[in-house]
Subunit: 541 residues, 2 copies
Amino acid sequence: MFLQADGLTIRLPNRIIGVQPPNHRPANPPMSNDTLQVRRIAIDTYHENVAYLNRECGIYRVEGFQALSKIQVSANGAKVLAVLNVVDDASIVQPGELGLSEQAFEQLNVAEGCLVTVNHAEPPKSMDAVRRKINGERLSQDDFSSITSDIAESRYSKMEMAAFLVATGQNNLDHDELLYLTRAMLQSGDRMDWHEALVADKHCIGGIPGNRTSMLVVPIVAAHGMLIPKTSSRAITSPAGTADTMEVLTEVNLSPDQLHAIVRQERGCLAWGGTARLAPVDDMLISVERPLGIDSQGQLVASILSKKLAAGSTHLIIDIPVGPTAKVRQMRQALTLRKLFEFVGDRLNIHLEVMITDGRQPIGRGIGPVLEARDVMQVLQNDPEAPADLRQKSLQLAGRVIEFDPDVRGGQGYAIARDILESGRACAKMNEIIQAQGAKQIDLHPGKLCHEVFAGCDGFVTHIDNFQMAKIARLAGAPMMKRAGVDLLKKLGNPVKKGDSLYRIYAEFPADFKFALDIASQDNGYVIGSDEHIVKSLVAF
Amino acid sequence: MFLQADGLTIRLPNRIIGVQPPNHRPANPPMSNDTLQVRRIAIDTYHENVAYLNRECGIYRVEGFQALSKIQVSANGAKVLAVLNVVDDASIVQPGELGLSEQAFEQLNVAEGCLVTVNHAEPPKSMDAVRRKINGERLSQDDFSSITSDIAESRYSKMEMAAFLVATGQNNLDHDELLYLTRAMLQSGDRMDWHEALVADKHCIGGIPGNRTSMLVVPIVAAHGMLIPKTSSRAITSPAGTADTMEVLTEVNLSPDQLHAIVRQERGCLAWGGTARLAPVDDMLISVERPLGIDSQGQLVASILSKKLAAGSTHLIIDIPVGPTAKVRQMRQALTLRKLFEFVGDRLNIHLEVMITDGRQPIGRGIGPVLEARDVMQVLQNDPEAPADLRQKSLQLAGRVIEFDPDVRGGQGYAIARDILESGRACAKMNEIIQAQGAKQIDLHPGKLCHEVFAGCDGFVTHIDNFQMAKIARLAGAPMMKRAGVDLLKKLGNPVKKGDSLYRIYAEFPADFKFALDIASQDNGYVIGSDEHIVKSLVAF
């Protein structure tokens, strides 16, 4: 009668576990069961720690834990917080045991069978600040710092992070609060130090398929002699990230030590950024933001700048593509975003410049790791077939980065970048970087299944939908299937005849191929217009 | 190389599972592995469905699922949504199997071993409306209805619910939106129909320990002949709910059929409300609201009115206690809340009256199921020892309910209620209800461990902290330990001498006892003042 299995009653906040007689047998002498043997449960719960307790366990029964309670597990001074799941199967976890999911077990870092104690977890103190923010208050630097440090220590549940993100989303942060948040996110992790006065970087806010300019900017800038240690993410919702595409050519999973050695030798690198612990709160917030589909300009700025500052950048070009299917759709939004970047960047002592670029269509021809790597190599090799827009945009970005060099005369950056590219020095530098990171046998053939999508009428290409092209490439298998993706044969402004091929879909497996073809047959992502004037105005971005 | 175990890359939105060759062996003919055998995993994950997939499972590897992805599991036309956990232990789930947590397995409602298909879950469509709300838009009835129906169908993750709660919290809902939300929550579940024109109910917004007026109002009102089918919750954060206290005397877990039969016979009942599916979205939102520690007046109104309307109430008294340690601390907040209740109640066609009551201290003497049941029985039995405040407040509430009766002359309700109580008819009715629900052997002795807390100085009781008294009672073991709790010997305004006993702490187990004593020794919850004027002004609430 005392134990209700209805899941509604038994929740005791802030309570400390003590010696308890199990199963309510007060006649027996109290048994010490405040400790449990820890057991690794081979379940991967990603960013969320889960603990498993048998329903027959004395601690569960007496202490009033409940499924989804947050508990604190302690052993030898180490502590982890975890969400509780209650187990009715002793083969998974026995009454005297406490199971921990893979990540939680690793975080606790004790041997299996070790004794652990279990407490109700105190809710994170900084949630008070989140509640004040929900109530419309302005938060201080200390508030943001205590929030990010609680998040970094896994004290926030996913729903607490969601509450924080909604409370600080949209226009709910003023300029100063955004600065505090960025600084707090930066301080939540490690910070790289390259021991040089000028550490260059470039970053695009994303959303444009095929936009692999980093793989051209890095070799050009490094060939010029400037330090540009570029770390990139893998694709999360896109058909390829720079790390995915670079991985076609070379190793990208480099330890921080390897990274430093390569950068010292080559002046640049193109690696995956996940090995270092840079602004970890950023990754944790993204893991909530993404499934919720919420984002705000403030959070974008804090995310990018905290990561770049943690990576040790001193000089940074931010690329903001604008277009009807880009992340930023209108010039005035791009300007607001630029000001936010500048405000925070100036106060955090990073030399930052924003380039607003043409985001009306994918950059280059290929979408997907192998196809994009092919585009990049064509540009580096000065192949006459190389996509002109990828080349041009990369040279502009590289030129802006090179102008950070105090020895370069204002306005000369672009010409220097072009010289480096045309002379073959950029290509040579890229090959050195590829070798240094660990070259692979390179085979840039796309997937063996191929389908052409044709124009339904005569006219001009007036619109290419970035989202739709990315979706088709993802369904075709990119980025996991490196050879899958889309290869664009027509770009904005090109004249087409009915039956002309607009693009090709490549896949490795029939099922992927079918998904991609199905979605392309519903909406092929292209609009063919007849009015040449509209087309001309489009081309003159 | 294609399969990244880093947990960052592989997420394909909105993708449908199809026939896929496992383990990337394109040379082999494609194997059909789009179906898996379902297996019940004896893990209780409360309100969150979890699915378990072996990491070696072809579907996991090819489809790019990732731990914490949301998936849709289908079998025989039934569907459930679940959060994915990835398992590395074939004894928990094998590569050809899909494990489901207990609740998810029950929801899918198919036999073990049955074939199921697995898809990426589409994010709930109504999250668009939540995002619009985050952006400051006003939502329509349709928006709220689609949100609550997605929540009721378990389409929302905890973090999506948190986003909704924060976006609609505080003053973010206008009066009309609050009406829409209440209506939508009401429509998310079943609705009881008592087939009578007047179905009375009373509800307290909570926060005051010992406030067991329902157990007096129901027998008085039912003895008067009005229909009052009272369903109550169990304690969630308090030391006892009405259902917990009633459970000391009789059964409270009644099926809807039993409930109807008892109410037809006795005109009233005092049962646990968890057996019917009344406004289920309310419970789901509370399960997120509570750990986040966020609440708002709007959500309180929507929660209470949707539950009461679903329970079939036509006439309702709302009790809003006001006091420095009550939920509502100031009279102007109580008035705002009253207006909100009246606005929504009027439009949803429930005759609703609000009583603002004295919430400066616990009601009655006992805090904890057995001690509160003792207080209630003393009042019913017209025991001269019965706590006067519990008796008085219950009579006022019962009088207001009785005045809903069109045959009662205005102003006569209180006198009628008092006559029913004093004549013993209320006690007789209570005994009939207890018998009808399933009487228990009643033993109202408190826990065998007892400690007295003494006054540290002479003076008058000027303050009793509701929170602290509730916390002491909970630590002593209430509500799980029915006999545990606190028994107040002094109330506001009482004169005390140094060394007088203020209250007793009762517990069943030494560990609970120690926790309660420790917390009481830090702060015993009482303030003893010397100024008789302050005391007099306090008493004159």
